[in-house]
């Protein structure tokens, strides 16, 4: 008897991605560049986050043609984004055979109250989080992988740093708590008690937690690894740079050898201009993607 879509199978897939870089791509050509550079997976999109930010309007699941084109172009796993709470977008992507779905705040939410019940799907999900409460709620809903939200499409790492530090500090606090303190902590965080109890018992989150949202340079990727990320998503950074292939390779190397500063110096040379970047305080609160999700 074989079983598909179990927690082990869904979470295990994310375990295999550890130490790697997942790159946003918008067509087959970019997907091949990413694979060739050593990406562990690609995220098939219609527009990268910085273009979504620039274009405004409602951002939705990518055209299935683009997702199919990317799936046909590479042998590494292909991820795609569905709107928060959009049951049908997620089911469509699952039916297409996408390997992982990102229930993503980068797209305009379809539901301002509920996230997807991710336990019901065979395909695994990744979700963003800014703190342990959000992380635990998403785990409770059945996500198989987490990532920091950061502030997507800004090329500014500050929010991703804030989020990984917050989650890890709260995990440490939880692990050192007495068991009789956990229910109140669950209440404070708005987190499911059972999920917190599991984290306390195991000493860490039950799923991998990648960095995302603002990684623009090899040093940014290495910084997130040093702060305890299991791997890195790079969105706009790569294909908005002058030399995407070289940039992609540099990010992969800096992620693998995040404590080898001489190597990071070497791979950071002559990369051309990185994406311009946006100061977070210049983004109107309504345009902050990280505040989407509940």
């Amino acid at each position: 008897m074989s079983k598909v879509g179990t927690d082990r199978v869904k979470r295990g897939m994310a375990e295999m991605q550890k130490g790697g870089v997942i790159m946003d791509v918008v067509n087959a050509e970019q997907a091949k560049i990413a694979e060739e550079a050593g990406a562990v997976a690609v995220m098939a999109l219609e527009r990268v986050p910085s273009d979504i930010r620039a274009a405004g309007g409602v951002a939705r699941m990518a055209d299935p043609t683009i997702v199919e084109e990317v799936m046909g172009a590479v042998s590494i796993p292909v991820m795609a984004k569905a709107r928060i709470g959009h049951i049908v977008e997620a089911r469509v992507l699952e039916a297409m055979g996408v390997d992982y779905i990102d229930e993503s705040e980068v797209l305009t939410p379809a539901d301002e109250v509920y996230h997807l019940n991710k336990r019901e799907y065979t395909v695994p999900f990744v979700c963003g989080c800014r703190n342990l409460g959000e992380a635990a709620r998403r785990i409770g809903e059945g996500t198989s992988m987490l990532r920091t939200k950061g502030e997507p499409g800004t090329g500014n790492i500050v929010e991703a740093v804030r989020h990984i530090r917050e989650v890890n500090a709260q995990v440490r606090k939880l692990v050192n708590m007495n068991e009789d303190e956990i229910m109140t902590y669950a209440k404070e965080l708005g987190a499911p008690y059972e999920v917190l109890l599991g984290i306390k018992e195991n000493g860490r989150l039950p799923v991998v937690n990648f960095a995302a949202g603002g990684v623009a340079t090899p040093a940014d990727a290495a910084l997130m690894m040093q702060l305890g990320a299991d791997g890195v998503f790079v969105g706009s950074g790569i294909f908005k740079s002058d030399n995407p292939a070289k940039f992609a390779r540099a990010i992969v190397e800096a992620t693998t050898h995040y404590e080898d500063y001489e190597l990071i110096a070497k791979v950071s040379k002559d990369l051309g201009t990185a994406m311009k970047g946006i100061e977070i305080s210049n983004i109107a609160p309504a345009d902050r993607m990280q505040d989407r999700g509940w």
Partner: protein
Amino acid sequence: MVKIGVLGLQGAIREHVRSIEATGAEAAVIKQKEELADIDGLILPGGESTTMRRLIDKYDFFDALVDFGQAGKPIFGTCAGLILLANEIVGQETAHLGLMDIKVERNAFGRQRESFEAELAVKGVADNFEAVFIRAPDIEAVGSEVEVLAEYDGRIVAAQQGHYLCSAFHPELTDDHRLTEYFVKMVEK
């Protein structure tokens, strides 16, 4: 006590370390080729084989890994690690390390939504091994020196050739450490 390395470029490294330690052996994460000199056996973990191969080349690991195997030191490849060990890959003109006389097909069981877990009989290891298959390869054909250790649905999913061991599934993702233990015993010999 034997010391077993896990190639630490990308993938499920921590899980293998945990599994090795659960058998009572000593574990080490190998990030530089010089570190191969300190270990008695090596595990090539699951991950993305194309990514790992790129990093193997980049850090000049290739010859060091082949030499390690040819010197008679045991190597155990799981999933992507099995692909690295094979001397023939379906649909590709070139293989990677080519240390085992096996022909493998990548993602042979399909994409992630087809990934599954099942109980398997693994020869010399267990009748009821909990095997987790994730976008797993299979072994399409084996050479005369290769012993088949497990099949699923008529397809070969674990094999041994002398001091080389491989599995298409992930023994490191469960608390069933019997296959790792089997490899530790191979290293002890």
